[in-house]
């Protein structure tokens, strides 16, 4: 994958059901982006450029897959790309889109499209790996540029990228934040995969679990902690659900290391 033949690696971006916030992160890269462009060529980035191409090495896929048509499109992308990277919470774990699964499709339609007589195509929100094979994951809602760069570099030099298997707390403590639990608040950090640099706790908010539950989360331990802090079981599950409902509803787990 390296630039041995001095051929630039061609990267294409695609988005599905999502807010496009993760793609937007890349526009904040600036000088770094320029450095990266020495090695890669961006051939598809709908939000910024008009040209399109089907000839690419790496496909960075953002968003959850919902409708039949999207399914076909992502399969086509998989066919064209050597490497598929799921980019952002919606693509990696379903993210907030999963919340829709609290309702049946019909219920959701009734709530949002009351009085509509025309047909409406929707589908079950799914992380990308539920539809096609994913090679690497860049988690987060939104993704963190530092991690994105780290992952892209690692993938480009051929070592691949494995996101941390430890919880957000690890990064949080290294930053010497006052733990939210010590401020009488509750946090999802202990069961959430790190890699964001404890973004939210560093700014005084709780971790909402956007990077997905750990492979081996201490769910019982975290539940005990929350219960001790006066949360009911229902409120507690809600906390886990914000980003992780796709996984919690028993859809295919994120595959372990590739």
């Amino acid at each position: 994958m390296s630039d041995k033949k001095n051929k630039k690696v061609r990267i294409a971006f695609f988005d599905f059901a999502d807010c496009e916030g993760c793609q937007l992160q890349l526009t904040y890269l600036n000088e770094q982006l320029v450095g990266l462009l020495d090695h890669v060529e961006i051939v598809n980035f709908r939000e910024v450029i008009s040209e399109k191409s089907d000839n690419y090495d790496i496909a960075i896929v953002e968003g959850s897959i919902t409708r039949k048509h999207d399914e076909e499109r992502v399969k086509e992308i998989r066919k064209n790309a050597k490497i598929v990277i799921a980019y952002g919470a919606c693509a990696c774990i379903g993210g907030v889109n999963g919340l829709r699964k609290k309702f049946t499709q019909q219920e959701a339609k009734d709530i949002v499209y009351k009085g509509r007589e025309f047909p409406l195509e929707a589908g079950e929100p799914r992380p990308v790996h539920d539809v096609v094979k994913v090679d690497y994951y860049i988690h987060g809602c939104p993704t963190n540029n530092e991690e994105t760069i780290k992952a892209l570099k690692s993938i480009l030099i051929g070592k691949g990228y494995q996101p941390p298997t430890y919880p957000v707390c690890v990064e949080c403590k290294l930053k010497e934040n006052v733990c939210l639990f010590e401020k009488r608040q509750v946090c999802m950090g202990p069961v959430t995969r790190a890699g964001c640099g404890a973004w939210c706790p560093s700014y005084g908010n709780i971790c909402y679990g956007c990077r997905g539950l750990l492979d081996n989360p201490a769910t019982q331990g975290e539940m005990d902690i929350l219960k001790k802090h006066g949360y009911t079981l229902e409120e507690l599950t809600q906390k886990f659900e914000t980003y992780n409902l796709c996984r919690m509803m028993g859809e295919q787990n994120e595959p372990k290391k590739s």
Partner: protein, 287 residues
């Protein structure tokens, strides 16, 4: 107390402890689907100066480091090179497998405590190798062969999953032909054309004849193997001090600092990787 005089932002040489020495791959050989053999020489021509059983930290910049045992003997004719054999299991090892003759890599070490050569001298040696365990043991075997008159009888027991997994097959036959060296091999499962033993390695032990008063057993293999082999060896009457093992743990620094390889109070990288069973017995995390 020492005087404290350091100036701000002083540049210090990257310390040799953490900085690899430059080396070049002289020769490679694909041994099996997953194992590759490398002959490596330092660019400054210096010998590695290892003891059998010691290991090095290999380094590919940008990818990282990994510990590997040295599989050549310090008595090897061309002292300016050494040999390793690595199984592809993860990121680093995959990157290493992509390297070939002429490629450069970094080497730190040798590290750790090798096999207790001085104690083995003058005694019989029973070598028990499971799977990849033959790799570090090869350096001991070759050492013994080169210093044959220093040692008594040598028996080699080899075990692996399937016949195609056997490493150093050409050399093994040679070892078998050597005076005073006997060897037996077994596989866990085999195709019908396999003529050798079938079964786990422990099944070979009851059949070997050893003089329990003058035999050391040197055992290297996957973690699961040790418990059973040790039980068999104890049955043969060997004492805990006569059983020598080499352990594998996650490692980062190789210097007894980073903590990854710790087994109870022992650091595998510094106190080991070779231990006598007596040293490990009773340590909850060792075997």
């Amino acid at each position: 107390m020492q005087s404290k005089t350091l100036k701000k932002g002083k540049t210090i040489p990257a310390d040799f402890l953490y900085s690899p020495r430059a080396a070049t791959i002289i020769r490679t050989k694909q041994m099996t689907a997953n194992e590759k053999f490398f002959e490596i020489g330092f660019d400054d021509g210096q010998p590695l100066g290892q003891q059998p059983g010691q290991f090095i930290q290999l380094s590919i910049f940008g990818v990282g480091e990994a510990p590997v045992g040295v599989c050549s003997s310090p008595t090897k004719k061309d002292r300016s090179t050494f040999e390793i054999c690595v199984r592809k299991v993860g990121t680093f090892t995959s990157a290493l497998h992509r390297l070939n003759k002429g490629d450069k890599l970094g080497v730190r070490g040798p590290f750790g405590r090798g096999f207790p050569i001085d104690e083995l001298k003058g005694n019989d040696v029973l070598i028990v190798a499971g799977g990849l365990g033959i790799v570090p043991l090869r350096s001991l075997i070759n050492f013994i062969i080169d210093r044959k008159r220093d040692f008594g009888n040598v028996m080699i027991l080899l075990g692996c999953k399937e016949p195609k997994d056997r490493l150093f097959t050409d050399e093994i036959d040679e070892w078998g032909n050597m005076l005073n060296i006997s060897y037996a091999c077994t596989v866990d499962r085999a195709a019908p054309d396999w003529k050798g033993n079938v079964g786990v390695i422990t099944t070979l032990i009851p059949g070997v004849h050893i003089d329990k008063n003058r035999t050391y057993a040197v055992v290297v293999g996957p973690p699961v193997m040790y418990k059973y082999v040790i039980a068999e060896l104890l049955k043969k009457g060997l004492s805990e001090n006569q059983i020598i093992l080499s352990l594998e743990r996650r490692m980062k620094c190789g210097l007894g600092k980073c903590g990854h390889c710790q087994i109870n109070h022992l650091y595998v990288c510094k106190d080991g990787p070779t231990f006598t069973y007596a040293e490990l017995k009773g340590l909850g995390e060792a075997l």
